[in-house]
Symmetry: C2
Subunit: 347 residues, 2 copies
């Protein structure tokens, strides 16, 4: 089932599954042209190499179904080839360790989107779950500049509000929230207050809203979720709203513990779960059980009266524009950008 004509570009702004051929076939069934996949949650540099190695195997083994995406042009190529383009990303800057050189190294390995922090404070800044967010660190400022320079999109989804605002102020390129909702829609540390949403949009960036059930009020219907998308578009502008489902599958319960607890704690941590009943794997809503049901989201958007051209932006166009603005090295940000701020650039 295709969302629309074969020319339509459909992008999922973030997924984190244990992928195999079956889950890749779900992408095709859902009419997806491109998916940003999480390859790292807590891993350091050496471990990240193996995660990327696993993706090299997937690309070789399923070359009939998927292809790597290193710039926005590759997404158009994927559409023409009838394959799904895959953007490699990190949900934590942990593979950079404390080494500024590793930003360029991982860009060379194809990584194009990096969330500055996962659930914990790191060398760069604080997450949305830290009791106190001290903002962007000294090293963090340099990482932002280096990501700007080499062509890596900054993701603020799990990042704390203060670190997010300081990152946007520091960045000379547009930034993203690949998978979160407005806090006004559902009060949760992982969702975003209006000032962060507005600053991301002002940077030229994009917010990927999520059907992920922990980031929506209990019992959210497709109509209610679509209404939230409409309100967000009214707040930040239609050019700055897209979708990042945060879809996840194929993991065991032990994997769930590892995703939440990494090496950092021997006490139970429940990540985004708020209530005790909510501590296991999230149950996905009836209107989005797998990426094969991406077309349902389009139906929901149609019913809140988005125009076809608005829907094209939300389901892929905005992401492709942003990727085109951020995935290539910038001639405006020289390697010796020592004194900091550069003019904001969108190319």
């Amino acid at each position: 089932m295709k969302v629309a004509g074969s020319a339509r570009i459909v992008v999922d702004g973030l997924q984190y599954s244990r992928w195999n051929r079956e889950s890749i076939l779900q992408w095709h069934e859902g009419g997806l042209t491109c998916v940003h996949v999480t390859t790292v949650i807590w891993e350091h540099a050496r471990e990240a190499l193996s995660r990327l190695g696993t993706w090299n195997r997937l690309f070789a083994e399923h070359a009939d179904l998927i292809r790597p995406v290193r710039d926005a042009e590759d997404i158009r190529s994927a559409a023409q080839e009838g394959r799904v383009g895959v953007i490699l990303g990190f949900q934590n800057a942990s593979p950079f360790e404390d080494d500024i050189d590793l930003v360029e190294i991982f860009h060379s390995l194809g990584v194009r989107i990096v969330q500055l922090t996962y659930n914990n404070q790191n060398f760069i800044g604080s997450s949305c779950y830290e009791p106190h967010d001290g903002g962007l660190s000294r090293f963090g400022r340099l990482v932002v500049r280096q990501m700007n320079r080499v062509g890596m999109l900054i993701d603020l989804s799990h990042v704390g509000d203060r670190t997010s605002l300081e990152t946007i102020a520091e960045s000379s390129r547009p930034v993203s929230i690949t998978h979160a909702n407005p806090r006004s829609f559902f009060e949760h540390p992982r969702n975003k207050p209006n000032d962060v949403l507005l600053r991301v949009a002002e940077s030229g960036g994009v917010i990927g809203v999520a059907p992920y059930p922990r980031l929506t009020p209990p019992g959210t219907t497709l109509a209610k979720w679509s209404q939230m998308v409409l309100q967000l578009a009214e707040l930040v502008g239609i050019d700055h709203v897209s979708i990042g489902t945060d879809f996840s599958e194929g993991w065991s319960d032990a994997d769930l513990d590892a995703i939440r607890m990494g090496r950092w704690t021997r006490e139970k941590d429940y990540g985004a779960a708020i209530t005790p009943e909510d501590r296991g794997w999230a149950k996905w809503p009836s209107w989005f059980r797998t990426p094969a049901e991406f077309p349902q989201l389009v139906i929901g958007l149609k019913e809140v009266a988005f125009s076809d051209s608005d829907i094209a932006k939300i389901i892929g166009g905005n992401w492709v524009r942003l990727y085109g603005q951020t995935f290539r090295p910038s001639p405006l940000v020289p390697p010796s950008a020592g004194d900091g701020r550069r003019p904001r650039s969108t190319s």
Copy 2:
């Protein structure tokens, strides 16, 4: 001083210095178009990332003088730009650790030449200094195939004779000896017996002969060294002889210990030094004190009556041909090359 017309391509098949702007300027003075540089001796994967990061810095800081070389075309571009092309290489497969996926990872990072072993046995095979060379290991066979597939030139310079012969038999692409001399010229474990030299040539490969004083008889003159080159060309054919100086500078005495002893011994090891008098830094001959004196080697080759076209092959043409045959992924070696031997290919 240029060796000849600006169209002439001059390649040094291996150097291992602690480079800075001054040593890069020596390359220009010597008329070099391209240098294969060693970035790793004992380093594991994570450490290798930092060595490559250092090269990314050098490329950025000295972009007026050098450029990276990822395929043979880049060498022609370097010549046109008046810059020296730099090929990144490892003198040890240690960064692959025991992980076959890391071959492709390091190819993606620009590494194009890897010596299977440095001075010690590793997961792949044995070095020329091991008391017993057990040949290519199970993992070694897979590394050879994977290097064939991804487009990485195999270097046998420090590799033991049996491991070398088994590697050549396994490889579907030509292989190299980037920096060694015939053992018939000077009896030394690092120099090569005729059967290895002949098999390398039969693979379509290239042998880079070295003015490095530990690999030549004491007091070797330029005339005597050039005579050796002539005899080697008569043995293996003019298309299979080039130069790899093994030039090294800028290191401290502590660095010399680290180059020889890595982490593997607390007892003194003297690498290629045979006599106690020879244990410090080698004194380079009067006719090749630095890469700025590369034109001296050409004078020596002229005096043993090599033709101009032969000299063009020796000083660069053969390397460029071999790089063109080995640096790109091979369509003839599929990723699932499970059953081993593939037809030998030169492209």
